[in-house]
């Protein structure tokens, strides 16, 4: 992700990346300056360390949403998958430490399976993913409520490690402590690694580049021998995986999974960082680097407004305005017609 690129034809160096990168970096810089000026608690190491951990949830759902959007689709089933995964995880573990690993693995596999069903239905029924994933969201929500309509089960204390764990540097080496207020957030580090991994997957592997090809022009991709179906399986499988992971994160953080999570519209929250980061809903343009910047921006905004004692209500207004401003600057649809 070098910030300067050489245009081989003109021999000139220019700023890399899209306008989006610079807009978001600029906004983040403004927020940081404002934070230092307006609040003395904002600019502390402790707060930045907290922020790093708090951003993890949004980071997970946003990277999950990025791939479908790149492939010219969208995944609106994320919210229901999160809730279902959370309820299932806490219900099946039911405070039994020996069940933690198998249940976590099962839930992640289920998440991938849901995504693959979305991809299959959308591809073979030729229905827009918006509708398919919306239908899937309704079905999953129903199935979840049949399983349980109240918070169910619970998790052992160790399960909190994923969301609450902090990596501490002590004399005997690196240790992981759950309830410590300082240290580096384990989930935050995990997310950074996930972003790096997906970044290289998208740029350096054939399957990754196929996602851009399918999003740019599905017909051309098919004609050039790319299996659109297989690409969609990877794309939606990944978003399902991330949604399940986000559900597991919430259980890890809160100790129990609640069906109430289904009404929080996380699927819409997941879209904001993606589009603010410059990934176009029309597909084929953007990437996880932009999404990461979008996540940082949204997390900082929430953090700063909290310090200033500004209610969530105004955060919504700010969030909406940021979408409008950002996306109007980028000019969403390519002017092809």
């Amino acid at each position: 992700m070098s910030l300067l690129t050489l245009d081989r034809e003109t021999g000139r160096w220019s700023l890399a990346g899209s306008k989006a990168t610079w807009v978001v970096l600029g906004l983040i810089a403004c927020l940081t300056v404002a934070g230092f000026l307006l609040s003395d608690r904002f600019g502390t190491l402790r707060n930045f360390s907290n922020l790093f951990g708090q951003a993890a949830f949004l980071a997970i759902i946003a990277i999950g949403q990025t791939l479908p959007v790149l492939s010219r689709g969208i995944d609106l089933s994320i919210g229901s998958v999160i809730a279902f995964a959370a309820v299932l995880t806490s219900g099946l573990i039911d405070n039994d430490p020996s069940m933690m690993l198998p249940v976590t693995a099962l839930v992640l596999v289920l998440g991938v399976a849901v995504g693959m069903v979305n991809a299959t239905a959308s591809h073979f029924l030729k229905v827009h993913p918006l509708i398919i994933t919306l239908g899937m969201a309704a079905v999953l929500r129903g199935v979840m409520l049949v399983y349980s309509d109240t918070p169910v089960g619970g998790t052992p204390e160790d399960y909190a490690t994923f969301a609450m764990g902090r990596i501490m540097l002590e004399e005997e080496g690196l240790t992981i402590d759950i309830w410590s207020g300082s240290g580096l957030s384990l989930a935050g580090v995990f997310c950074l690694l996930l972003y790096l991994l997906v970044y290289f997957f998208l740029k350096r592997t054939r399957s990754g580049r196929n996602i851009y090809a399918v999003g740019g022009d599905p017909d051309a991709a098919r004609l050039s021998g790319i299996s659109v179906y297989r690409t969609l399986l990877v794309t939606y499988g990944f978003s399902g995986f991330c949604a399940a992971l986000a559900g597991i994160y919430l259980v890890s953080q809160q100790g129990v999974g609640s069906p109430e999570l289904a009404v929080k519209a996380y699927e819409l929250d997941s879209i904001t960082p993606v589009v603010v980061g410059g990934t176009m809903l029309s597909g084929g343009v953007g990437g996880v680097g932009g999404t990461l910047l979008g996540v940082i921006l949204m997390a900082m905004l929430g953090n700063l407004l909290n310090f200033l004692d500004i209610s969530t209500f105004y955060q919504w207004i700010a969030q909406g305005l940021i979408i409008i401003v950002a996306v109007s600057i980028y000019v969403e649809r390519r002017r092809r017609e």
């Binding site: 029924l125 239908g135 129903g142 819409l268 879209i271 105004y314 919504w316 909406g320 109007s328």
Partner: protein, 326 residues
Amino acid sequence: MSEEVRREPTGMTASGVSYADHLNRYGIFVFAVLLIVVGGLTSPVFLTSKNLQNIFTEAAPLGIVVIGQCLVILVRGLDLSVASVMATAAVIATEFNAVSNAMIPVIFLVCIAFSALVGLVNGLLVTKRQVSPFLATLATMIVLQGIRFSTTKGAPSGSLPEGFRFLGTGQILGIPTGIVALLILAAFFCYLLHKTGFGRRVYLVGNNPAASNLVGISSDRVTISCYVLSSVCACIGGLFLVGYVGSIDNFVGQGYELLSIVAAVMGGVALTGGRGSILGGLAGALILTVIFNLVLLNGLPSEFQYIIQGVIIIAATAFYMLRRTN
């Protein structure tokens, strides 16, 4: 591109619909009738006039919203802000704290003016700034939600004139008021869409915005009008819904944005624009309401309504898409 060319004549016929569209329309009505027959067979209460009246009273606000949603989808758009507009209109109405019924027209006018403004913003973002409809209306939805909550401090207070109750639950000549309003609006918009130049422009813009610009039709102006009309419909739907519910909270109409899209798509209005009609969308709205009603009447746990709803959404859209590609 070839698909575009093939589709053009569809929107250009005088009535705005082709043979295929007629078949698509037909399908949804057959399904609606089948559903009602199934309803009558599975539940003895279903076909009683009391229950049918309930269904129609509940379907009215959704139907009013669907009319606007259909218009927006016809011009290749999508309106996610309708539910937020419904709730905001309801909150504005209660902020008046009016007692006298004479205030009702004033309340309506203020709310409609406000919602038209929201629609204008949506339309301008989509046309002049080329923001994708999904994002533009998502953003206005979030902003409206923020404004609504911050002005009401999270708990709206205030009251509505007695007459609002009549709008939601009353009857005119034995027909629920909401249905009367829905029928009037539906008739008006069907006339607008199928008998006027504006309607033909809507189909043309939906089928091929570039071509419409070439023949001198401002596709931007048509698109903006559709967003404004959608917001106004949502506002009226919201005011009827608050009359029906009888109490006000910040989430009046929550879920209607997705239900209205689903109803329109089930009714054969294509997300790619230029295809379908309001009547189809209304049939979709009726089907959704009947499903909810049947789930309750048959003593199924209410969770099942989500499952059935999801399956029907996917099945209905798949039906259209597969027919179209054949």
